[in-house]
Symmetry: C2
Subunit: 255 residues, 2 copies
């Protein structure tokens, strides 16, 4: 199917230097482009909905690229998976309109940050969630998250290495859900999943928001501080950057 | 707490040469004994409920050992976890009666074999489950499993490399449960978890049972064949050995 192809890709980012191509070639983009080259002989630059940092995972990253190959769209996923490492899986492929662009056409993205609030980590989920032992004030964390819903200058929650001209973004929704782990006394506790949906995200924005919300959960700050920090536009007022391995690009939506 | 200590350990077996110590030293037992040595200076041989093969995981493996250390029982788990690789986690430790022996005192063990029956693998669960695309006749698989409940000579489901004198074992329960994966069109399908509880297990017994049940699910054999295979006591009549990475030692029960 020659033309514009749109794909959904999931990956375990543990061992990669992020999504975007690097001289090391050990990125998700490099692996995808190498698999496309193996399959078609085409040297293609793929376009994604946005980069993810080193160690960050994706459940549903969206990419697109133009190909001259005659391979039918529905065959692409299995064909690429056979040529990809086991920690990258294409879970969908379809023909897209000529003008479709994975980044520019995206309307909103959702990230999920997972925290396991138990005495011991779950060895099987450990690469994908932050383990936090000790009480967390979940209602306070939830309240803090609601403070960032809206259109704001998010400079306080943006790495000082950001090179974007404007730090104004819209967060449509910032919520959390808890899931009790019971029936298993040895590993009892709860998992907390923080979901943040926005028009776009600044460099390390979700991880700095989560790092701040965790301080609020620990009682080191109050939930009202969240708005003060946001309005300060000062990175030094916010909390630390939460570790990358707890973060997953959850979904990208288009209209 | 000097005396007999009982611990529950979970591990991701992906990168290990099984539970039991080997000259390579890259086994779960070696890592646990090295952590105990680091913590106490004691050269201890631990005892487990039973070995697990290379690549097999454990949710709740049970071990015991005698120590002269004064460290209180409730401190051991965190102390050892700080000295263990990230894919091995002690999730419980308690004082045990002098006569407690992790293998000899065990009354029954449960293994779980997980199969993901979807078009594409789940990248995050991939190390812990077998991905199987294509229809599986779940009722037939369930029926086949019920045939092995009871006390039998399980030679048909035992590696020919077994050196045990008797292959008679009791399977108390062999069932499966399915869990639909829906709401997510791209990764729809189901997971199938096969649980087998028995008095003891022969070398590769669960994996050979699962390999045979999978052939029944695929329609290559009928569920009635299961009993014929069992009664034949002939390994060559059974199916292939299912891959190790789908298998997890789920639980060990003591009275």
């Amino acid at each position: 199917m020659a033309g514009n192809l749109r794909m959904v890709v999931s990956y375990d980012g543990t061992s990669y230097h992020g999504f975007q191509t690097q001289p090391t070639k050990h990125t998700i983009q490099d692996k995808l482009e190498a698999a496309i080259y193996q399959l078609t002989g085409e040297n293609i630059k793929i376009c994604s909905s946005g980069r993810t940092d080193a160690g960050v995972h994706a459940r549903c990253q969206v990419i697109n690229f133009h190909t001259a190959s005659a391979i039918p769209a529905e065959r692409w996923a299995l064909a690429l998976n056979a040529r990809l490492p086991r920690d990258i899986v294409v879970i969908g492929a379809e023909a897209a309109p000529e003008h479709f662009h994975a980044r520019r056409s995206a309307k909103q993205k959702t990230y999920c940050y997972r925290i396991r609030n138990t005495r011991y980590p779950d060895v099987f989920a450990r690469p994908y969630e932050l383990h936090h032992y000790g009480h967390l004030d979940v209602p306070a964390m939830s309240e803090a998250l609601s403070c960032i819903e809206g259109t704001f200058d998010f400079s306080a929650f943006c790495s000082i290495r950001s090179q974007k001209k404007s730090h104004v973004r819209t967060v449509f929704q910032a919520t959390l859900e808890t899931c009790p782990i019971d029936g298993q006394p040895l590993i009892s506790g709860q998992t907390i999943r923080i979901f943040i949906t926005g028009s776009g995200f600044l460099y390390q924005m979700v991880r700095i928001i989560v790092g701040t919300v965790l301080q609020i959960g620990e009682g080191k700050r109050s939930s009202e501080d969240m708005r003060t920090i946001l309005l300060s536009k000062d990175r030094s007022k916010a909390g630390p950057t939460a570790p990358s391995h707890g973060l997953t690009l959850w979904d990208v939506e288009y209209t």
